[in-house]
């Protein structure tokens, strides 16, 4: 049986998520044995032409050129999985969605006329059909392996759409919001990080974006009660997943 092929494509992003693949040190050889890495410029100069069985897409769409390029990537991909907050929600660069891009250009670049950019940073799914979205800034490598393994063996990835709280409790991590009064985004945030921050006595920053149907309004109310001010509440919803509709809408309420 022909080995299935894997491709990795990058759009507007920091490369951290695709490097999670190389970070799978212990599993890397098994991975290379199980799937043919056909297009992964960060890892190898040997690049095969498509179509590909599984394509991982990192990054958001911020230019007209990329908005076209993603259509070609989609056309070459049997299964397309987006990885990371940029690809699934527009990333930190989606902060431009709340500002005047032309003004930014004039302040940041000596020759703004050299820059061709869109006014917004958007997720891959807002341009093409996506088969699965893997959240996180960065993604969790165990979850990435779960997605690839599940793809190879035709099963649904064991990745749940539930709040971080569920995993905090399963991991016996004491709630930092209730026991220490820390303003935490966990109740509205999609789990997947392995409760990285609460495990280290820090509140959740929402790196994995909103859980489906997150009640951000009730959470914001609680953040106010815990002493956070309007500007702070606006900003906690405006980080790596600022462009995710649930967080974007909530942050706009506190402008």
């Amino acid at each position: 049986m022909r080995k299935k092929t894997l491709a990795v494509f990058k759009f507007a992003s920091c490369d951290g998520c695709q490097l999670s693949l190389l970070d799978c040190e212990d599993e890397l050889l098994a991975l290379a044995g199980a799937i043919e890495i056909a297009h992964f410029p960060e890892a190898s100069r040997a690049v095969m032409d498509g179509p590909y069985d599984l394509t991982l897409v990192e990054g958001s769409i911020t230019t007209a050129h990329d908005a076209e390029r993603i259509k070609h990537v989609r056309a070459q991909s049997r299964t397309l999985v987006t990885i990371g907050a940029c690809a699934t929600a527009g990333g930190i660069q989606a902060l431009r969605n709340f500002a005047d891009t032309a003004e930014y250009l004039s302040v940041v670049y000596a020759r703004p006329d050299y820059i061709e950019t869109l006014a917004s940073s958007t997720s891959i799914a807002s341009h093409v059909t996506v088969d699965f979205e893997l959240r996180g800034c960065p993604i969790d490598k165990r979850q990435l392996l779960e997605v690839i393994t599940s793809f190879l063996h035709g099963k649904r990835p064991s990745i749940t759409d539930e709040s971080l709280c569920a995993d905090c409790k399963r991991a016996d991590v004491v709630c930092v919001m209730v026991s220490k009064g820390m303003p935490c985004l966990g109740p509205a945030t999609h789990t997947g990080c392995g409760v990285l921050c609460p495990r280290h006595d820090r509140a959740c920053y929402g790196c994995f974006g909103p859980v489906t149907a997150a009640n951000t309004g009730a959470l914001a109310e609680r953040l106010f009660q815990l002493g956070m001010r309007k500007d702070g509440v606006k900003r906690v919803f405006r980080s790596f997943n600022a462009g995710a509709p649930a967080f974007a809408d909530e942050s706009r309420k506190h402008e």
Binding site: H153, T160, K169, R170, V174, C175, V178, S179, C184, A188
Partner: protein
């Protein structure tokens, strides 16, 4: 008859006095029976349950301050061993762990596969410091997981192997309402039932063996018969828990009332505050719902099935081919409260709530089951 020593012939209903100094010997005597001790200990700003070695691991001199959505660890002005109420965890952590492998399968050379069943837990645990509400919760889970049509062999093995040292509450948190649920604060059951008495003059435990094996363990530790005064002092301590209890849940006709309230507009009002974050169900000592998760390795040679605790607050919990059955937050909160306070009776012959107050304390936005039940009662009465 000697007042102390190993040959003191207690009867099961005569309480004994165990000095605090000999509490460590009691723990050791339980260990000598082959039990691993699990009990309260301070970690990460809370009193949690974990393996303990000795008295020194207990939350000596600590207490908990609780309110809706609020928990703080506080210093006491004495050295009580059990001077707190309940923390975020319950004994469910050991009896029904959040995650358990159910079986593994390995692919054979002939293309088939071999199932490897998951062995039953062998470790026998001694639960040190089980509260009345927690004993009631364990009995509630017994009915669900050992006495119903579905039998959980892992739960049964862990449960039947366990030795239970129950400790009476001598204070109540503002979130407690066990008295109105008829589950406490006085313990009944376990292997040993203790009341801790701490005063400037003395520090002792009034011990009542509840079973023959509890009696046998006590015999190995230095103790003596309790005087009338010591028994009275313990009763005064226990009475404090009752008098401090502020919250209550009116259970009169409650199952029928909740059933009648299914169409109430109140569910939507709760849903506006509810984060559907699952905290209430995860900390609840009786909530038992789970899901299964399948994993496979990259080579496809080995697969595993795990059971993990799930929650009716998760949309995926009722996910069917057309979507989630309980899509709205209101539907999910209604499901939880209805099962807990109403349909649980028909299904398992008791309430699903023991009044421990964990869901109130550990709700990040402080939603209070007693308030919501009262509001529903009012809504039904007015309609």
């Amino acid at each position: 008859m000697p007042e102390t020593g190993h040959d003191h012939a207690d009867s099961i209903d005569t309480p004994s006095v165990l000095s605090a100094a000999h509490f460590g010997a009691l723990l050791q005597a339980i260990r000598n029976e082959g039990y691993t001790l699990v009990g309260p200990t301070v970690r990460d700003g809370a009193i949690i349950y974990d393996e303990i070695e000795s008295t020194q691991d207990l939350p000596i001199g600590w207490t908990d301050e609780q309110e809706a959505g609020h928990y703080r660890l506080k210093r006491r002005d004495d050295f009580a061993y059990f001077g707190y109420v309940v923390g975020p965890q319950s004994w469910k952590k050991f009896l029904l762990p959040a995650r358990r492998r159910l079986w593994s399968s390995v692919r054979r050379e002939d293309g088939g596969f071999t199932i490897e069943p998951e062995p039953l837990p062998e470790r026998r645990l001694a639960f040190i410091g089980v509260r009345a509400c927690e004993l009631a919760a364990i009995r509630t889970q017994d009915r669900v997981l050992m006495e119903g049509s579905f039998q959980d062999p892992y739960y049964r093995a862990a449960r039947q192997g366990a030795f239970v040292v129950a400790v009476n509450c001598v204070s109540a948190a503002p979130t407690c309402f066990c008295a109105s649920m008829n589950t406490g604060p006085k313990v009944s059951g376990g292997d040993l039932a203790l009341t801790e008495v701490v005063s400037p003059e003395r520090h002792y435990f009034l011990v009542s063996p509840q079973t023959a094996r509890g009696q046998a363990v006590l015999q190995r530790v230095e103790h003596r018969a309790a005087s009338d005064e010591e028994q009275d002092e313990a009763l005064t301590h226990e009475a404090r828990a009752v008098s401090q209890m502020r919250r209550k849940l009116d259970t009169e006709g409650l199952p029928e009332l909740i059933a009648a309230a299914q169409g109430s507009a109140h569910w939507q009002r709760v849903a506006e505050r509810c984060l559907a974050c699952t905290n209430c169900t995860m900390v609840c000592p009786t909530c038992f719902c789970s899901t299964v998760e399948d994993t496979v390795d990259l080579s496809g040679q080995r697969a595993e099935r795990h059971r993990k605790l799930d929650s009716c607050f998760n949309r995926e919990f009722t996910y069917l081919h057309t979507g989630s059955v309980r899509e709205s937050g209101a539907a999910r909160y209604r499901q939880w409260l209805t099962h807990k306070l109403s349909t649980w009776h028909a299904q398992f012959d008791s309430s699903g709530c023991v009044g421990c107050g964990r869901c109130i304390t550990w709700c990040p936005v402080g939603i209070d089951i007693t308030e919501e039940a009262a509001a529903l009662r009012e809504a039904v009465d007015q309609s």
